[in-house]
Subunit: 572 residues, 2 copies
């Protein structure tokens, strides 16, 4: 599973000569304190590098180029074990530019979001981008497009569509197998993928799955899980051989809760991931450096936190060429001013010192999916919610979680129509198909946004990325959706009958074509707008984006209607 | 690197149904105490198995067949990370039959010995055998045939001869890269192999290599070492990312010395191997069970000893389908009556309870290399040792070690000929080419066998397996060699002018065509014969067999003459 690209002629001879000291090394980090992830020792040493490879440690070396490492700690580059780059709202090139300087030298992404909109074109866009980046971006093949049969996606990827990508040097295996009910029920389309990738790396996704059902899921060769949110769940999974990917995203934040499971004994079976993290959090808190810092603050020994974020991650994904500062390993090195604070000073990626100026030189592919909003103008009538009585299922938002509550509430009921209950913070919510396949609109109710007079609409709506809109009334919902279509996708906030905030995401309705810094400013403005609307959620658009995800318990909504995830069926 | 053989249709559906408990599992171990190698916990649980796969743990299961595990500990099957099956002196089928019931469910062998005699035919014989065995025998591709240019081997395997075997499902990568001087000197034939296998698994062999030279060796992508014999050497290698394969063979026994390096932190970077272990030791002491027992007796916690012998070994070789008792893993399980004593009660290999009767059913390939002694009759004159003076280099045998001392001694000197010095235990030694390529005879002197009147001859002579003979006089040396040729290879002991012991090894002059039990009896008789001759070494024939190995320090002998290994050159 490593890069088996042919070595350039003479490369190994250069490694040997430079390692022995017959010639100067290409690059030497002088006198840094290596945190040894195998022995746990900290010792001052030079680190010699030839090309993209570490060739000498614990010896004195001279380099053609030298970096002063005195007073700094050296640890292996960080590995994000599960990330949807799309959730940073920027293109992979911008993701690279903002997370690599924070120490993330490898990211294992699942381009699931763009694939749900564009299909195999999304995979091709990510593998092409990966080849151009300064970091090593690995691309898992999205396993669940569409995630379920309970929604209309923009594309379908069957086993036969994925297999041609398996030999690509940037591809490791099959991405998170979200459709765990499909596994348990032996859904033929699911089984086809599990057979096709038997023996290959398959990522897991098994929130709250336990007991015999967890056994069944794992028995199909699924290796890890990033959807673990409680300690008992973590311990059961570790006991059953699952590699635990401890997530610290924007909405879901599990490091503090799960840190007690990251022990000296388990530290090679635990890693970190960000899954879905917006650029604001990356700029203000950090990326994996933030996870490490938080884990150490939660009581994890630095040795085990750094082991998890690099060595354990590499080995857990079959990447044997990285994760250690040792001869023969890829020269992905983070130099830290402070070990416990994970204060990143400099980053070496593939043997090159990361410098802002080099990002401009990358040959990135052009933008894709610029015409993805295949949706006609809507009117307030499209959002009417007739019902047989006042009592109905209501989605209950839980702060900082993507799991929801399945509430049953009695709503205002007039002329055969159920209405929002603003006094109890119950809004109307709708999901509109936007891939040109049909004109479905699913309608329901949601509690927890805190809006008093307005609507929020998004073309990011996991996992099929239909349009999701929540609002206090039908007219403002229609206004928000129509503005979203004009923008070519993104986020729109409407208040008092006016558009008060927006963030265009023109690539597949998921990613901006602007810089990460521009998106950060747009997000700050949008957050201020939603706060002014009375919404107290830190990230209302991320909550909105996860409400259509019918593989996360308990009550969700798609373009087909409200979904009881526990029963894996539409509600009435 | 795992077995990616297509799964039989319906297999995963059977796994799911049996794991959930919709149907009975194929096999259930009831109520064993699982030693969990990730968490360190010991807890009573059923273990459910479908076909060759574990599908359920920590839940209650019913099986079509059930094994009572109450009162027993369950640990994953043991993995011998580096073994030359030829050194057991029996065919792979016999190796399987004697080590599998002792818990060794996977062995990673290097058929280096037979390849030095038969070339690619040896590789083919081992891969064919592997397909028939009850255990999972993995075959590394012998990297150093011939080991050096300082000897005449029966065959040469170049990169192009090895590569066609790489796609075989039983092959993991390149076997121990013994020619470390060749790496350091950038020998073109060596470099060709390192380029051809770049990014693949490459086993190491680096006795006493340290500092920048070790860095250079490792920078070529070599991953492990089984030739570590001291603690400082072990710590340097661990620090530099080397997976430590702690060896307990017949001659070389490193477990007691190296156990302090097997700690909670390093336990996923340490494993065990036997390398060269004769059937007598397997019958009396055990196989890897003996290594585990000895490590625990040396102070290693059972958790870390069992982790090293299974989980660490599997991951260190890229085998992600075994090494844990967990759903989705291969059903290789050892049931123990006692954890600290590593007392093996029952073994399950690939989902089948190991029973003596099943070994008879294996479809083993026919014997190969039955005509490998391409050597003409010799006379005493062939062993004359003319010299320019009485002082000469003498090989000093070290008890229980394959490294030797480079002694300089003054010998009896008459008529321009150096003679053995029996008073000081210095015998004559010779190595005779036996592959029909030439009629080379290398001659020298050796101290340490303790013979008073006789000779010992062997067709096992690492690594080219020329004939090696040591004796008190030329006539008895000639008698021993001539008897060896008549036998078609093996070991011969001559005393007082008579053959007093012999053990035929008709397959390539390396392996018996008889049962392991028969070979054991022959070895016991042979040992008694050498003991009666005054030899106090526990295994004189194994010492004899390693004297021609010019990649092990310090002084050795080949058919070309005496070799100073430190200078990697023939002596005068």
């Amino acid at each position: 599973m490593e890069t088996k690209a042919k070595l350039p002629p003479g490369f190994l001879e250069r490694c040997i000569d430079q390692a022995i000291g017959r010639t100067q090394a290409d690059l030497v980090i002088k006198g840094a304190s290596i945190l040894n992830l195998i022995t746990g020792e900290i010792a001052v040493s030079d680190i010699a590098i030839t090309g993209n490879r570490i060739i000498g440690t614990y010896e004195s070396y001279q380099g053609v180029r030298e970096i002063d490492g005195r007073g700094l700690f050296a640890v292996p580059g960080f590995i994000d074990t599960h990330v949807h780059c799309e959730s940073t709202l920027v293109a992979p090139g911008e993701f690279d530019r903002i997370v690599l300087p924070r120490g993330t030298t490898t990211a294992i992404c699942d381009p699931h979001e763009i694939c749900n909109v564009l299909g195999a074109q999304g995979l091709a866009y990510f593998t092409q981008s990966a080849e151009a980046l300064a970091m090593d971006l690995r691309v898992q093949l999205s396993s669940c497009v569409p995630a379920t049969g309970l929604e209309t996606s923009g594309a379908e990827l069957r086993a036969g569509d994925l297999l041609p990508f398996l030999s690509h040097p940037k591809v490791l295996g099959l991405a998170e197998f979200m459709n765990f009910p499909g596994v348990l029920h032996k859904d033929p389309v699911v089984m086809e993928k599990l057979y096709a990738f038997a023996g290959e790396h398959i990522d897991g996704h098994a929130p709250k799955l336990s007991g015999r059902e967890l056994n069944a899921y794992l028995s199909c060769g699924i290796r890890n899980c990033h959807e673990t949110t409680s300690l008992p769940e973590a311990w059961e999974k570790l006991r059953k051989g699952v590699h635990l990917l401890i997530r610290e995203g924007t909405v879901t934040r599990d490091v503090t809760t799960l840190s007690p499971a990251l022990t000296p004994e388990t530290s090679l079976n635990c890693s970190f991931c960000t899954d879905d993290r917006n650029p604001l959090d990356i700029f203000t808190e950090g990326h994996l450096d933030y996870s490490v810092r938080k884990a150490i603050a939660s009581g994890v020994a630095p040795l085990h936190a750094y082991r998890a974020v690099s060595y354990a991650a590499a080995r857990g994904f079959g990447l044997r060429d990285r994760g250690l500062i040792a001869p023969g390993q890829r020269a992905d090195i983070v130099l830290l001013e402070d070990l416990e604070a994970c204060a990143v000073k400099r980053v070496i990626a593939g043997g090159r010192l990361v410098e802002e100026i080099d990002f401009a030189a990358r040959a990135l592919p052009g933008f894709v999916g610029l015409e993805s909003m295949k949706l006609e103008k809507v009117s307030p009538e499209d959002f009417r919610t007739p019902g047989t009585g006042p009592t109905t299922a209501v989605i209950g938002i839980l702060r900082d979680k993507i799991v929801t509550e399945h509430l049953t509430m009695t709503l205002p009921y007039r002329n055969g129509e159920r209405l929002p209950d603003l006094a109890n913070d119950v809004l109307k919510i709708a999901v509109l198909a936007r891939h040109g396949k049909n004109r479905n609109i699913g309608r329901g109710f949601v509690k927890g946004f805190g809006l008093k007079n307005g609507a929020l609409a998004s073309s990011v709506g996991h996992d099929s990325h239909n349009v999701c809109v929540a609002g206090t009334d039908d007219a403002q919902m229609a206004l928000a959706v129509n503005r979203l279509v004009e923008l070519g996708g993104g986020f729109v906030a409407v208040a008092n009958g006016q558009v008060v905030g927006e963030l265009p995401l023109k690539m597949a309705g998921l990613m901006s074509v602007k810089s990460a810094e521009a998106v950060r400013e747009e997000l700050i403005a949008l957050r201020a707008a939603t706060r002014a609307m009375g919404c107290e959620l830190a990230e209302p658009f991320l909550h909105l984006a996860f409400l259509p995800l019918p593989v996360i318990p308990h009550l969700k909504i798609t373009d087909m209607g409200v979904v009881d995830v526990d029963k894996f069926a539409l509600v009435d």
